[in-house]
């Protein structure tokens, strides 16, 4: 690829020997998490190198920038992505600048424009922040009635005056409720499909018709009820039993098929 000097800023194309990034020789280290974000880091690097924001040597700045990213020890994916995004933007800009062009680019066509605009805007926000912080520091010392919180607690409820007896009563009521609520984990007995199947077929033989809802409610636990439901499905599927529901949401009646001589229990 042929690149004429006019198309790329002179600073950039010089091959720069790989050097330990960023703070080598600066005598101080900066941790990434002190920056509010990738733009903050970029601004820092630009100022440190006393670079004109309108004429950023993309190659050099990208190298510094990536140097900071590499020194990150902990990984915070959310933040990482934002830093990497700007790194990608830097590299994209550089690639655009390397493309040979027939004519010189006008200033507004500078591939760096998008980055410059963002940096300038962010720089302004940061400067405004320092002014707003000064205001905050003064205002925070002046207590207005609006901002004075209630003396105790953060409850929004109106305080109610209680006598000692009322207080004691509510305490006992709460304790009673606690007693009732006292939950224990009781391991239900294991219900096997096989055993339930036998029980169900025996019952069908005995009663000839089962009201499913009734039967369901007689089950001790949800687990048992579920198992019996599976059993009925299984019996219907293997054409041992017939299930009929007269109406939607009504109970289901189950009876043995007359022609079914074998039962699930014998399977």
């Amino acid at each position: 690829m042929t690149v004429t000097p006019a198309e790329t800023p002179p600073l950039e194309d010089q091959p720069v020997p790989p050097s330990p990034p960023a703070e080598a020789g600066d005598g101080y280290q900066v941790r990434l998490d002190v920056f509010e974000g990738p733009l903050d880091l970029l601004l820092f690097l630009i100022r440190k190198k006393k670079i004109d924001i309108h004429d950023i040597p993309i190659a050099a700045i990208t190298r510094d920038y990536l140097g900071y990213l590499e020194r990150k020890t902990e990984i915070n994916l959310d933040r990482e992505a934002e830093f990497v995004f700007i790194a990608a933007l830097l590299i994209y800009i550089k690639s655009q600048m390397l493309l040979p062009r027939e004519t010189d680019l006008a200033e507004h066509e500078d591939p760096r424009r998008v980055l410059i605009d963002r940096l300038l805007e962010y720089e302004k926000v940061k400067a405004a922040c320092s002014l707003l912080r000064e205001r905050e520091d003064v205002q925070i010392l002046q207590w207005k009635r609006d901002f004075i919180p209630p003396l105790h607690g953060e409850s929004e409820l109106e305080p109610v005056e209680l006598s000692l007896f009322e207080l004691a009563e509510s305490f006992f009521r709460i304790m009673k409720r606690r007693e009732a609520d006292d939950t224990r984990v009781i391991r239900g007995r294991d219900v096997s499909v096989e055993a339930k199947m036998k029980e169900l077929t025996a019952l069908l033989h005995e009663r000839s018709v089962i009201d499913f809802l009734e039967y369901f409610e007689s089950n001790a636990s949800l687990e048992e009820a579920l198992v019996s439901f599976f059993c009925i499905l299984e019996l219907v599927k293997s054409r041992v039993a017939v299930a009929v529901q007269d109406e939607l949401f009504q109970t289901i009646r189950v009876w043995l098929r007359k022609d079914a001589h074998r039962t699930a229990a014998h399977d």
Binding site: E36, R47, V125, A127, L131, Q142, W143, R145, L151
Partner: protein, 183 residues
């Protein structure tokens, strides 16, 4: 009404109000007194409260006047209220607030783009602190929520209105100074 009675009345009205009282509001309450006279009474009150020997003063914020304790008494006030310290906004919070203040009405993604950082969390905190409010949805894909600064924001920073935000010139001056320090 004598000047002194008017002054006393205005003071009482500002005192009972938990939010800034505007001149229009005062005029509506005190019937038959020209705005200029009320303004003069307020000015006199302010001059009087700013003088020594007083623990509270009247400040102008959020389009009206409100009583506030003087900064010098902060430590003891906090002791009375049993508040360890009043937290300043985090730098992320302040940055987000500044971006909203200058670019309002804005959406979350616009704020995030300005900062180069996802600002969802910061927005939520600012909403909880009531420093910003949701004013509607933008007619754009996804109908994102639109945010503005609130009246509490003005009061929080002691600004009379949004025009009181640091101007372009003030910001440029700060940037000049920062560059001068570095050079």
């Amino acid at each position: 009404m004598t000047d002194d009675t008017l002054k006393a009345l205005v003071e009482a009205l500002i005192f009972v109000s938990q939010e800034p009282v505007s001149l229009e509001r005062l005029q509506a309450v005190i019937e038959g007194v020209p705005a200029a006279e009320i303004q003069a009474a307020v000015d006199e009150l302010i001059a009087g409260s700013d003088a020594g020997g007083r623990g509270i003063h009247i400040i102008r914020a959020g389009g009206g006047w409100i009583f506030a304790t003087k900064p010098a008494h902060d430590r003891e006030v906090r002791r009375l209220l049993q508040i360890e310290r009043k937290n300043r906004l985090s730098s992320a919070g302040l940055e987000t607030l500044a971006a909203i203040a200058y670019r309002q009405p804005v959406t979350q993604s616009e704020v995030s783009a300005i900062r180069g950082v996802d600002s969802t969390g910061a927005l939520k905190t600012l909403l909880e602190k009531k420093l910003i409010k949701i004013v509607g949805r933008k007619k754009a894909p996804g109908n994102p929520l639109v945010y503005r600064t609130s009246e509490e924001f003005l009061l929080y920073l002691g600004l009379d209105n949004l025009d009181g935000l640091p101007s372009e010139a003030e910001i440029a001056k700060i940037l000049e100074e920062e560059k001068a320090v570095e050079a």
